[in-house]
């Protein structure tokens, strides 16, 4: 069991130690402690580099010391003639004697005590990212205000996530900007605009200073913009490397700023605004849009007006105009509206006359009526020809939509009356 202190004496101490002996002591104190090993008596045959007899102190595979000869204390107030401070809780002490001693040597007396290690300062590696607090047998890390200690209990990060930006315009900056941003942090923000708007990010090149990429081009710290189906970044370096204006085409954007353990830089700031989603201007043939604009955006409503002679067929009815609204997905609500030529249908028959079978009954087509000659004639000479009009009616220049009239020819017998003169 590890103990907090102990004594190590060479064999037969304080009598002469035997020849040809090798004895090892494994010293262990509790975790979190170092060992203070000190000698109060040392009387070992001297040789060059303590080659013959010696007491050797090894900790962690490293020889901390090798002693031989006779020593006395230089400090009259202290019995310690040699001491070691081992920043480790284990060490090995090995006493070795060769086959012959010309004189009598009494060996050594050593004591060890567990001593507190200042983990915060005694090691080359910094154990805490920010503040290190030493205590007897251990240490703990702590963080500055607004930072929190990561689960590894060593590194501090900033709790920078969670902000959701819903206003149509705004400015977002990295923590502490323009002061150095925190290491070991992952900041997740979200811009969440209403449907129909896309987030447009505007970054000035000089407003971006993030730890540059490594030799492989991987960003150590990075800023990323993520939408449902696209990803912009990761960006890093001094000066923004991406486009200065990013049209995300999405009303929701996640902003992820990730930093590693080191390399704190100034950070970044950017502005964003919500730009209404635009719908394509796709005026279908034979129609006009009102109002006419160069660009149509979310919530814009247009009236699709068919040109004369064209109509929008909806089921069994038809109309000459329709409305369509630019939707939040950038598509028109009535994307299938098409203006088709008005079809006047088959012209109506008339009594005592006929109408020629039209090749076409669409807008602009013409048909001709005739009367059953010679017994009927057309009441209005000019009323023979009808054109398919924009309102779906066959129209004559004189009669309008009224059908032509075939009236009987009067006073013309088909056979003369011949009467022999008396």
């Amino acid at each position: 069991e590890p103990t907090l202190h102990g004594e190590i004496l060479s064999p037969n101490y304080p009598q002469a130690y035997p020849n040809e002996i090798k004895q090892t002591w494994d010293v262990e104190v509790p975790d979190g402690f170092g060992i203070h090993l000190y000698f109060t008596h040392l009387d070992i045959e001297v040789s060059e580099n303590c080659l013959y007899d010696s007491v050797q102190i090894v900790s962690g595979g490293i020889e901390e010391g090798k002693l031989c000869g006779q020593r006395t204390s230089k400090n009259p107030n202290s019995p310690i003639i040699e001491e070691f401070h081992i920043p480790n809780n284990k060490l090995q002490v090995t006493f070795t004697s060769d086959f012959s001693n010309e004189e009598r040597y009494t060996g050594f007396a050593a004591y060890y005590v567990a001593i507190d290690i200042n983990e915060c300062t005694d090691f080359a590696d910094v154990p805490c990212s920010h503040f290190c607090n030493n205590f007897i047998g251990g240490y703990f890390c702590s963080c500055p205000p607004e930072y929190f200690l990561h689960d590894d209990m060593r590194n501090c990060g900033v709790n920078c996530s969670g902000d959701v930006f819903t206003t149509l315009t705004g400015e977002i900056a990295s923590p502490n900007y323009p002061d150095l941003y925190p290491e070991n942090s992952r900041c997740e923000y979200q811009i969440q605009l209403e449907d129909g708007f896309q987030v447009v990010v505007t970054m000035k090149r000089e407003d971006f200073d993030v730890e540059p990429a490594d030799s492989q081009g991987n960003c150590l710290d990075s800023l990323v913009f993520v939408t449902r189906d696209r990803r912009f970044g990761p960006y890093c370096g001094n000066g923004f490397p991406g486009p200065l204006t990013i049209e995300t085409k999405s009303n929701t954007v996640d902003i992820i700023f990730q930093t590693d353990l080191s390399g704190q830089d100034k950070g970044w700031k950017f502005r964003y605004h919500g730009a209404p989603i635009s719908c394509p201007k796709e005026v279908s043939p034979n129609s006009i849009w009102e109002p006419e604009k160069a660009k149509y955006v979310f919530k814009d409503t247009v009236k699709i007006i068919c040109l004369e002679g064209f109509e929008i067929v909806e089921g069994h009815s038809s109309v000459t105009s329709s409305y369509s609204t630019c939707q939040s997905n950038g598509k028109w609500s009535s994307s299938t509206v098409r203006c088709q030529p008005v079809d006047c249908g088959a012209p109506e028959p008339i009594r005592n006359g006929k109408v020629e079978e039209p090749a076409d009954t669409l807008f602009g087509s013409a048909v001709r009526y005739t009367c059953e000659e010679p017994y009927y004639y057309m009441e209005h000479e000019e009323s023979a020809e009808y054109q398919c009009s924009g309102n779906g009616s066959w129209v004559n220049e004189v009669l309008g939509t009224e059908l032509p009239k075939c009236v009987p020819v009067c006073g013309v017998p088909s056979e003369p009356f011949a009467m022999s003169q008396r």
Partner: protein, 251 residues
């Protein structure tokens, strides 16, 4: 018809036969027949035929039968209790509105209505044509249509005709400007021809057409001179009546 000859209906395609009254009429429109008032003043729904030359087998000629929808007797025509003693034939004109339109063709077509303009005027000596299935010199009625050509004469000639009618004194007949006299040389209309057209050929606007200037009205003695209703005096009434009653009668 006195002094006439057999005629085909193609020569008088406007000729309408009134079956029960055995009288005539003139087709002036698809829906309208012009006749004398005395033909229809006791008949509310006369049966008529058109396109006939021969009057045989009428019951088989349904497609040529015309059905009256309404009768319009001139408002100034005076009704009498005993038609045989009538002496006043002034305003002897009536219109029959047909239920269905007449289909025109070779045997059926209307006669033109004159206008009141001077170019439509006619005068003594102008020839006219009459037709009908009425009495002839030999028969009280005929089956074959007959026609005749006769001149317009002075009204006095009609006034001078003497005939013994036991019921009517010759002097009591009334002559007005709504009548004209025509005939002579034995050419005349007679009983059964009433209501038929006195047709006059006029050449106007580069076309030669027959106009109904008169309707067979009455006469004192067949084979002399006959009195015809002067249609020209009634053109406005005819046109107004037709225009005001052009829609089918609602039940």
């Amino acid at each position: 018809i006195f002094g006439g000859a057999r005629a085909n209906i193609e020569s008088f395609p406007w000729q309408v036969f009134f079956r029960s009254e055995r009288a005539g009429g003139a087709l002036i429109d698809e829906y309208w027949v012009l006749t004398a008032a005395h033909v229809v003043d006791r008949s509310y729904r006369p049966t008529m035929y058109t396109g006939l030359t021969l009057l045989t087998g009428l019951h088989e000629k349904k497609d040529q039968m015309l059905t009256a929808e309404r009768i319009f007797i001139h408002p100034d025509w005076q009704q009498v209790t005993d038609p045989s003693s009538r002496t006043n034939f002034d305003n002897d004109i009536a219109l029959v509105r047909l239920k269905d339109p007449v289909k025109m063709g070779r045997t059926v077509s209307p006669i033109c209505l004159p206008d009141s303009l001077s170019q439509y005027n006619f005068s003594v000596g102008d020839l006219g044509m009459i037709s009908g299935w009425g009495r002839t010199e030999k028969k009280d009625s005929v089956y074959h249509l007959r026609g005749a050509v006769l001149p317009v004469t002075d009204l006095e000639l009609c006034q001078e005709v003497k005939e013994k009618n036991p019921k009517v004194h010759p002097k009591s007949y009334i002559f007005t400007q709504n009548m004209f006299c025509a005939g002579g040389a034995g050419v005349d209309s007679c009983q059964g021809d009433s209501g038929g057209a006195f047709a006059v050929k006029k050449s106007l606007e580069n076309s030669s057409r027959f106009y109904v200037f008169g309707l067979v009205s009455w006469g004192i003695k067949c084979g002399t001179y006959g009195i015809y209703t002067n249609v020209q005096n009634y053109v406005e009434w005819i046109r107004a009546t037709m225009a005001n009653n052009s829609a089918p009668l609602q039940d």
